[in-house]
Point group: C2
Chain length 246, copies 2
């Protein structure tokens, strides 16, 4: 059967040779970038906003209504770190990197409405399309393959990546937690973009950003959250994932 060691792709050798030339941990300085968080009034969005602001990034929380975003940013935990709130359009316009942390239900509609503002921007989709029933969580497969591929289809002029799927919002928001013990799988098509997202993940103490493939392999990363929910229930934990041997 197939194991992760396999290299059955015809030009694997060529690519391996090209990769040799670059240290995968040689990542750009992203400290000066403005980070926008669409859906920044939700738990995950606020948690990410808090961690990035704490790490020294300029952060803008976005929401449909500017007042809601401003109210969220007025929380002392965020306002003391200079976090601002704005409507989604202004958040997208003013940010270099735009994290999409909206509910799956509003994903397509939110992004469609921001196509112009997101032109040329680095978009980081962290949405997990899941359903719930009495047996727990299960994966939903978007028509485009994944939330990230839906974003890429809706935003042809943006640089779409996917990351930050597996984070516990509870841990992110807890000021008593100094380090987040997890790696972040980063997916995307262009190395310059995934390198940048990896560098952004590494701004949060304890985290590393690990390149984990192209967007066509985003569905399993998104839906693995269903499994982590099972882990968390069984072990009463806030599970993360560490990639070993890298």
């Amino acid at each position: 059967m197939t194991t992760p060691d396999d290299a059955q792709s015809p030009n694997a050798a060529t690519r391996a040779k090209a990769a040799l030339k670059r240290d995968p941990w040689d990542l750009p300085d992203v400290s000066g970038l403005v980070v926008g968080v669409l859906g920044g009034t939700g738990d995950q969005g606020r948690g990410l906003a808090y961690r990035f602001a704490k790490a020294g990034q300029k952060v803008i929380i976005g929401s449909r209504a500017a007042e809601r975003a401003q109210a969220a940013a007025a929380d002392p935990q965020l306002s003391s770190l200079g976090v601002e709130g704005a409507d989604n359009a202004e958040c997208a316009r003013r940010s270099d990197v735009v994290i999409v942390a909206v509910p799956w239900d509003g994903h397509a509609k939110t992004l469609e409405a921001l196509r112009e503002e997101l032109t040329g921007k680095l978009v980081v989709d962290c949405v997990n399309p899941l359903g719930f029933d009495r047996k727990g969580a299960f994966a939903i497969k978007p028509e485009e393959g994944s939330a990230a591929e839906q974003a890429a289809a809706l935003l042809p002029e943006s640089r779409v990546t996917a990351a930050f799927h597996h984070l516990s919002a509870v841990l992110l928001q807890d000021p008593e937690i100094a380090e987040i013990d997890t790696d972040v799988m980063v997916l995307g098509e262009a190395r310059a973009d995934t390198d940048l997202v990896q560098a952004l993940a590494a701004r949060i103490p304890g985290m590393r950003g690990v390149f984990a493939g192209r967007l066509r392999n985003a569905h399993q990363v998104e839906s693995l959250v269903a499994n982590l929910i099972s882990v968390n229930r069984r072990y009463k934990a806030h599970a993360g994932l560490r990639v070993t041997d890298v």
Copy 2:
């Protein structure tokens, strides 16, 4: 958006209460069980056979042709640990736990032919349905949802679980490697069965078996191997996954 902290299932509280009663690390003694490995002549199968035999389990390698299985088991690395070879039917009949490590192409046919021998057995599917093209590996979604669900559909009288998807066959087979630095995600419907597979994973030094949900959430665990292949190429690694906070 949805985070792994969520507990939106209506009877999550009831289940959480029931789970309180049992320590998830209180696992059965599996040292006396005979482990069969269908597809045991492949890299993954031989690697698992080696590790389980080294841990003290009685191991039988299965293959379509008994001679091929016997030849694989005659390798000094395996024969010195008492590993035997047999045709798939005999392997299944003589084993308590049967690991399915055949190529995805032969998965359905192999299991269909063994329905009778696998009746009542604990079956552990570790098959990853993947395709490869010039861009690398990608997930294949079986009609039944996953390889594990296909196994469950074909083997209604067996106890089907899924585990051991993410292991590097290179590391498993290397006698210089004393510990395998990874957790094993274990999926299944019956706790008695997943507990047993978790205990089996824990027989290999360095490994833990971590419960990670029902079979309907197996597809993303199987296809995550496509992402690990990307990781391994980028970082020249044999990546594994550690679940943090459990």
